[in-house]
Amino acid sequence: MRPGWLDRIWPLLPVLAALAFTSVLLLLFKASPVVAFSAMLEGAFGSSERILNVIAFWIPLLLCAAGLLITFQAGLWNIGIEGQIILGSIGATWVALSLELAAPLQITLEILAAMAGGALWAGIAGWLKTRGGVHEIFGGLALNNLAIILTNYLISGPWQPPEGGSFRGTVPFGEHALLPLFDGSRFSPLALILAGTAFSIVMIALRNSTWGLKLKALGRNSRSAFLLGVSSNREAVLAMMFCGALAGLGGAVRVLSWFDSLRQSISGGIGYLALLVVMLAAYRVLWVPFVAFFFSAVLNGAIVLQLRTQLHSSLGDILTGVMVLFVLLLGDPIRLRGLRRAKDDG
């Protein structure tokens, strides 16, 4: 069948369908979609602070999504990324609480510790898969919860604030330990630079590096890749650790700029969100930053939505989730045509 105007506007379909779906939900709850969506719009772009917030939230999301591009290339479902973010923030916190150095050095060490933490957690998941034969989805999942539990142990035990145990989090870090922020917002230009660099590295690695090619082979057929000389286990673990390091960096951004201390469940689903981002981008590298930004805008918008309409802010998650689902279901006209053909010959 010839690709006509239909195919050109097709990518919009899932987006429209998702908006329609959420509108119906809103009407069910006797809320006007117009009000709701404009509230979300305001919440995302209503003021410079808000825009800065969207950017600030976008950065860790982008970092995680970039890392996931690598693991997806290697055919790995790195659901453990949540825990990797958390271990990152734990790593950064550890340095922040235990060292007192000049800001540049302090921050460098914090970031390195964060990346190491994330890489460690991812490495465990990778090791469990390659050497232990535990699928990364389940290894990662268990590690996610263990990471949260570890945080709770730390902030209610060794790292609890002097005034006594609580789950509030650690004491706020000193100025020298925090990322320099763009006037009073939570947006740290440094973090943005780091994220941008990380993303371009990923892009190059996937396009032009031998490693990227190895991972591609690994993702398509690990057995053949192995026989063609790819150290399948090692590369798989490396891919995981690379992603973990970026996630860990994201975790550092969370504690060092978004918050000012380690809080419980600091990642709060950003990792899962990043998985959705990459899926909605259909694993196309260049789309990822834009989709990630869109997600960040939607979620930040949902906050104001709740303030204005008193509606549950999970509406934002629903919108993003449904969008990805519809991309899977209607995103690809070719498949749907295939479907029609399948129907034809019974």
Partner: protein, 387 residues
């Protein structure tokens, strides 16, 4: 400040700069840590806020479930900024979780009054001029709850479902135990050494699946291992839910829920009563003072109004007895309450030893507010971790 409270000497706070004329209605924001309909801690605050809105004609901006797990993208100052942009001049943050952030945000909005419920920044002097604390004296109500439990238990074993361990939760468990001990000894004439009072901490204020212990299972386990009265110290209602189920299956078990005045309704017959927070009066007083521009910084630790213990419009903390209470049990309980009211009973009277055996309150002495507020360890006789 609120009735029956003793404001501690706070650093003399100069009046906040901006004041709007009392004419136009006050706009105030309330931030909850959990959902507004959790039948527990957060709902009690939500209804308190609503009470203010109704009685003062103030308009309320409510924000629920502000915690990183539910809303990674939300932060206290983001929410507060929006509330202020909507004209809020009073912001109430209703959890100890918000203590630090409230202090920070308060500093960046000097012309808005902030109240952090259950915090002690004012008491410790860390608070900026526009930040106050409020808390209800739940300790006495917990003592009543403990007494009701002790009066009812047949197996002599009481289970307490605790949230996470901190000063607040520790002193509440302690009060419950001391109340139970007093009544077990004085009204049932049994040896308090035989009273088995165990606490299990789930690890957070409410159940986070996979991360905390599941309160449902904790309660079942208590009942299975012989406890016949379950007290709840967590924000949500699992204790009364499970006990209600077991009760319906003809088991002899009772529960004492917590926080929310309506908590018994899940299973009235199995409920011995509920010690509840009623934030309405305190919030109303605060809002009033802010509106009139007469607000003075204070650390309010509001005691119960024993003349209206069950009336949420007249007391900040209270107790409503439940159907599960037997006739003579409630008779004794009323004596106990009367004793507390008149002050002739104080369960915090020594000798009180800590779990490690060290003496905390000497024989005959009674604990000071600070000794209660900053209780370092659970008292001797309570089974379960102290930190």
């Amino acid at each position: 400040a609120a009735p029956a409270a003793e404001p501690t000497e706070a650093p003399a706070a100069e009046e906040p700069a901006a004041e709007e004329p009392a004419a136009e209605p006050l706009t105030f924001g309330v931030v909850l840590v959990g959902p507004a309909n959790d039948h527990g801690w957060s709902q009690a605050h939500a209804e308190g806020a609503q009470y203010v809105a109704d009685n003062l004609g103030a308009n309320l901006i409510l924000f629920e479930s502000l915690n990183p797990a539910d809303k990674p993208e939300a932060t206290l100052d983001g929410v507060v900024d929006d509330m202020i942009s909507q004209g809020a001049t009073l912001i109430i943050t209703t959890s100890d979780e918000f203590e630090e952030d409230t202090a920070t945000v308060a500093a960046s909005h000097p012309d808005v009054i902030f109240i952090n419920a259950s915090g002690d920044d004012v008491h410790t002097g860390e608070a900026g001029p526009n930040l106050g604390n409020v808390m209800g004296r739940m300790e006495d109500m917990k003592a009543i709850a403990g007494c009701a439990a002790a009066l009812t238990t047949q197996t002599g074993s009481i289970g307490y479902v605790g949230p996470l361990i901190n000063f607040e939760t520790r002193r509440l468990v302690a009060s419950a135990y001391l109340g139970a001990k007093y009544c077990y000894e004085n009204y049932r004439g049994l040896d308090p050494a035989d009273l088995d009072f165990a606490v299990t901490w789930i690890g957070f204020w409410f159940n986070i699946p996979g991360v905390t212990l599941d309160p449902t299972e904790v309660v079942s386990n208590f009942i299975d291992t012989g406890s016949d009265v379950i007290m709840s110290g967590i924000d949500t209602t699992e204790a009364i839910d499970v006990v209600g189920q077991r009760f319906a299956a003809d088991e002899v078990v009772h529960a004492v829920p917590y926080d929310f005045i309506g908590a018994c309704e899940t299973a009235p017959a199995a409920c011995l009563g509920v010690p509840f927070f009623s934030w309405g009066p305190a919030y109303l007083a605060l809002a009033q003072s802010v509106q009139d521009g007469t607000w003075v910084q204070s650390w309010d630790w509001n005691a119960a109004n024993y003349n209206a213990l069950g009336d949420p419009t007249q007391t900040d903390v209270g107790w409503v007895p439940g159907e599960g209470l037997s006739a003579e049990a409630s008779a004794s309980l009323d004596q106990f309450i009367a004793g507390l009211a008149s002050g002739e009973i104080n369960v915090w009277t020594g000798p009180i030893n800590l779990q490690d055996g060290s003496e905390y309150i000497a024989a005959g002495a009674t604990a000071t507010d600070d000794e209660i507020w900053y209780l370092p360890q659970l008292p001797e006789g309570v089974e379960g971790p102290s930190e």
